[in-house]
């Protein structure tokens, strides 16, 4: 007779931490293949389009990297916040705050051209951080639930931006509800091809920096300690509130930089559809990465691939583009379920009855 049991692990092996998200994604694909066949398309053909169409030309690869960049920012933002158990669901709003700051600075004609890009980057980070620190302060001072405030702050920001774009900030040249186009000097230089902008490079470098911050600095250590057990961290001498506020500032700043990247590198103006859910996708990406900043890189790339590939798949096989969203959602579930195996191991024992 074969019996399956879960036994507790003393520590999680490194190979498992890498294998787990891959297995979670594979499981999600297998589960979603049911939907593909329901849409009347061959499963392998559809998945082939979904993944491989983004590697067909150098342009496709560039597009994927450009798409991955905001996901990287928001994924990192959520990973840092969640480590401290600051439940930042508000990367979407913080991204918009950063985009507004970047868009506003980018059209200031009185500023010297060379200062525009650095100022936009700093301004976007500060704006994102400011938008994130309000819910953090409410949590620390008044014990207001951070999930609710960060989530609702997204709506405040989105509709606030829309009101501005419909009114005082409307582009006078076109009359569309978009902000005026930023100065040429404020646009991120294109590094390769025709879309790969400076912001993409910065986001990948920052991902490494965030990993270093979380793994190799006392600040990262304190964030992890406070998140894992605030009472023990306070007893050990950490100022729990200060650590939470710091984590919120870093998280909001990272999300704000996603906005700067989209405004200065892609759109060159603020539009209300700037984000298309990057902030929420960041939650799934961070979870898939098990909150490890290095893991956020492949997770963001994976998301970018299926988001871009979904169009090609839909065109060629007729499977709706929404399959990409379903895969994202299912991958979140399989990852959360699979996390069990980082704490427990499955033991298979064979036993002779009454042996």
């Amino acid at each position: 007779m074969i019996r399956l049991r879960l036994e507790r692990r003393e520590s999680t092996p490194a190979w498992l931490q890498i294998a787990l998200p891959i297995l979670a994604v594979l499981a999600a694909l297998i589960l979603c293949s049911f939907l593909v066949s329901l849409a009347g398309a061959p499963v392998l053909g559809a998945y082939g389009e979904l993944f491989l169409s983004t590697f067909q030309t150098p342009y496709d690869v560039q597009d994927t990297l450009v798409k991955a960049s905001p996901l990287l920012w928001t994924g990192l933002a959520v990973a840092v916040a969640f480590r401290a158990k600051f439940w930042n669901i508000g990367a979407e709003g913080q991204l918009m705050a950063g985009a507004m700051a970047a868009g506003y600075i980018g059209e200031r004609t009185f500023l010297p051209g060379v200062t525009l890009i650095p100022l936009m980057i700093i301004g976007a980070a500060l704006a994102g951080a400011a938008w994130a620190v309000i819910p953090a302060l409410l949590k620390v001072k008044l014990k207001v639930d951070d999930v609710v405030t960060t989530l609702l702050f997204n709506s405040i920001m989105l509709y606030g931006v829309m009101a501005l774009l419909e009114g005082p900030w409307k582009d006078p040249k076109t009359g569309y509800p978009n902000s005026p186009v930023i100065e040429t000097a404020a646009q991120f230089p294109i590094l390769a091809g025709d879309t790969l902008h400076l912001g993409v490079l910065i986001s990948f470098i920052v991902a490494l920096l965030v990993w270093w911050l979380m793994d190799r600095t006392t600040l990262g250590f304190s964030i992890k300690a406070v998140g894992a057990n605030a009472r023990a961290a306070a007893y050990a001498g950490f100022s729990v509130n200060r650590v939470l506020i710091t984590a919120a500032l870093i998280s909001g700043g990272l999300a704000g930089l996603a906005g700067a990247g989209e405004v200065a590198g892609v759109r060159y103006q603020v539009t209300s559809d700037l984000s298309s859910g990057y902030g929420y996708a960041g939650i799934v990406i961070a979870t898939l990465a098990d909150l490890n900043p290095l893991g956020v890189i492949p997770a963001a790339l994976f998301f970018a691939i299926i988001m871009n590939g979904a169009d090609a798949m839909s065109r060629d096989t007729g499977v709706p583009v929404y399959l990409a969203n379903v895969i994202q959602g299912v991958a979140l579930l399989t990852m959360v379920a699979g996390r069990l195996f980082t704490l427990y191991r499955l033991r298979i024992t064979r036993q002779v009855a009454h042996g």
């Binding site: 520590s11 250590f221 001498g237």
Partner: protein, 524 residues
């Protein structure tokens, strides 16, 4: 042991016979050829140090682990226990050290939750009927309408026991049931267990407290390194010394406490009160001098935790003055107290002392991470942390797979050693040790005691907060008693007697006024 499995002399088949039980985890043999027997009316004491295999054996009995080999017979019939539901259906009930109750629900709701076991259907009426039986037969008094969160630890434990009995348990396993009980609550538990045994139920009582085992049980099985090393009838001839020797495999010598002339004040509290804890400290004056261990006795919940937190810098004083090494401390904080070289071993090892999800190495540098060599200018040196942890693991004989093991997987005794290793590493002048040996085995306790005495010999001071009077009398130079947030007395050890301390713990200042006051906090 094979003689455990021979035919029992009594007519009824024994409730439980385990034969030849083996279980290994990787290369570690947790259980080797274990035999165990519990007859009707038996209260079996199961003794052994941490890691001796008691918990593994009980997990096999309860279906949490599968044995690699061996058989289990319940009431004379071979049984296969694959899940806890199987165990329940066979009449085995388990009361864990940590309760599995929903605090915001009523006693009734907690009793109704879960599988019915052997009892058939459970509903409010049957539960009330059975609660009446339990009250009548076993003195297990429970108000089904009370909220669990409003109950004392002892009452919560009664719910767990009632849960098992209502589901038809004939054999009750209790893992360290008295670790968090007051002496009076423990006596209540013993009365209930004896009544159960008198009605033919069986009890397996797992404990480190040898006195309680001798008081309660009729037979004792002792395990060491995964094997049964002895079985004894508790016939009045069995003594603590022999049990301790069997458990540890060596003679334990009582710690030596040479006379030391106390030095200068290390810590001084003058008329200190607090207002933020669960119990308010009131006008505490206390001094601890170099080379002195000051014991604080008292029933749990009379302000001991607050006293430890006050000295640890996490509970502010509302009035009064605290000074360390002669210097007045105005704005106390955890960090400041650490910097003043006050070591702190909190009573809640895993919830307050360490972080269960971090690696042991990270838990062991938790308060020191901002110091060199663990970090410089905010940048952590992983290799230095690992080296430090590995050295402390070796020096303090902490049993773990290594510095990277998750803190939460360590046993209580090893956690306590790790905590002590962490605090002693920074060479404290004063150590606040709260319940340092609660729930840990004799070998580890002896180790902890030696460390405290070594610190004293080096000219350090110890504030020892304990509910174990034996420990307090063995180690302390002076004993003070806490009652209702106040220090009742501060006696040199030569003037203290167990009787006098016991009265003070109940809030009675001296024999003459014994009738004038009722102890208000004993049941807490």
């Amino acid at each position: 042991m094979s003689d455990a499995a021979t035919t029992p002399p009594d007519q009824q088949p024994p409730l439980l016979v385990m034969r030849g039980i083996c279980k290994s985890f990787g290369a570690v043999h947790a259980c080797r050829d274990i035999g165990l027997r519990v007859g009707q009316g038996d209260i079996l004491g199961l003794l052994g140090e941490n890691g001796a295999g008691k918990t593994t054996l009980m997990n096999i009995l309860f279906g949490t682990y599968a044995a690699d080999a061996g058989t289990i017979e319940i009431a004379g019939r071979p049984a296969e226990i694959r899940t806890s539901a199987d165990a329940l259906a066979l009449g085995i009930g388990m009361v864990h050290q940590h309760f599995h109750l929903v605090p915001k629900h009523s006693v009734m709701e907690n009793l109704l939750v879960g599988r019915p076991g052997r009892s058939g259907k459970l509903n409010e009426r049957t539960v009330i009927e059975r609660l009446d039986e339990l009250r009548r037969d076993f003195h297990l008094d429970l108000n089904p309408r009370a909220l669990v969160s409003s109950l004392s630890i002892g009452e919560q434990q009664r719910i767990e026991i009632a849960k098992a009995l209502i589901r038809g348990a004939r054999l009750l396993v209790l893992d360290e049931p008295t670790a968090t009980l007051t002496p009076r609550e423990a006596q209540g538990l013993f009365r209930a267990l004896r009544a159960m045994a008198a009605r033919g139920l069986g009890v397996i009582f797992i404990s480190h407290k040898l006195g309680e085992v001798l008081e309660l049980t009729n037979r004792v099985t002792i395990m060491r390194h995964g094997q049964v090393v002895a079985e004894r009838m508790n016939d009045g001839l069995l003594g603590k010394v022999e049990l301790a020797r069997l458990m540890c495999g060596r003679e334990l010598s009582p710690p030596e406490k040479p006379f030391l002339a106390p030095g200068a004040d290390l810590l001084r509290l003058e008329q200190v009160s607090t207002a933020a804890g669960q119990v308010n400290l009131r006008d505490i004056s206390l001094a601890i001098r170099a080379g002195e261990i000051v014991g604080i006795a008292g029933v749990s919940g009379n302000g001991q935790r607050e006293l430890a937190d006050l000295v640890g810098g996490v509970l502010p004083a509302s009035t009064g003055q605290l000074s360390v090494g002669g210097a007045i401390v105005r704005e106390a904080s955890a960090r400041l107290m650490q910097n003043l070289r006050i070591g702190r071993v909190p009573e809640d090892r895993l919830a307050v002392g360490m972080i269960s999800s971090l690696s042991l190495a990270d838990s062991m540098v938790l308060p020191w991470i901002e110091r060199a060599p663990f970090s410089r200018r905010g940048v952590i040196d992983r290799a230095a942390i690992r080296r430090f942890a590995a050295r402390q693991i070796k020096d303090f004989d902490i049993r773990t797979s290594g510095p990277e093991a998750r803190t939460g997987t360590l046993s209580g005794g090893n956690l306590q050693k790790a905590l002590l290793a962490r605090e002693l590493a920074m060479d404290p002048i004063l150590l606040v040790a709260a319940q340092p040996t609660r729930g840990i085995d004799i070998g580890a306790s002896e180790f902890v005691h030696r460390q405290l005495l070594d610190l004293r010999a080096r000219g350090g001071g110890v504030l020892l907060i304990s509910e174990d009077l034996e420990e307090l009398f063995a180690l302390s130079d002076r004993i003070a008693v806490m009652y209702d947030g106040r220090l009742m007395a501060d006696l040199p050890i030569a003037e203290a007697s167990v009787e006098r301390i016991g009265l003070l713990m109940a809030g009675i200042e001296d024999g003459s006024s014994a009738l004038a006051r009722q102890p208000a906090h004993v049941e807490r």
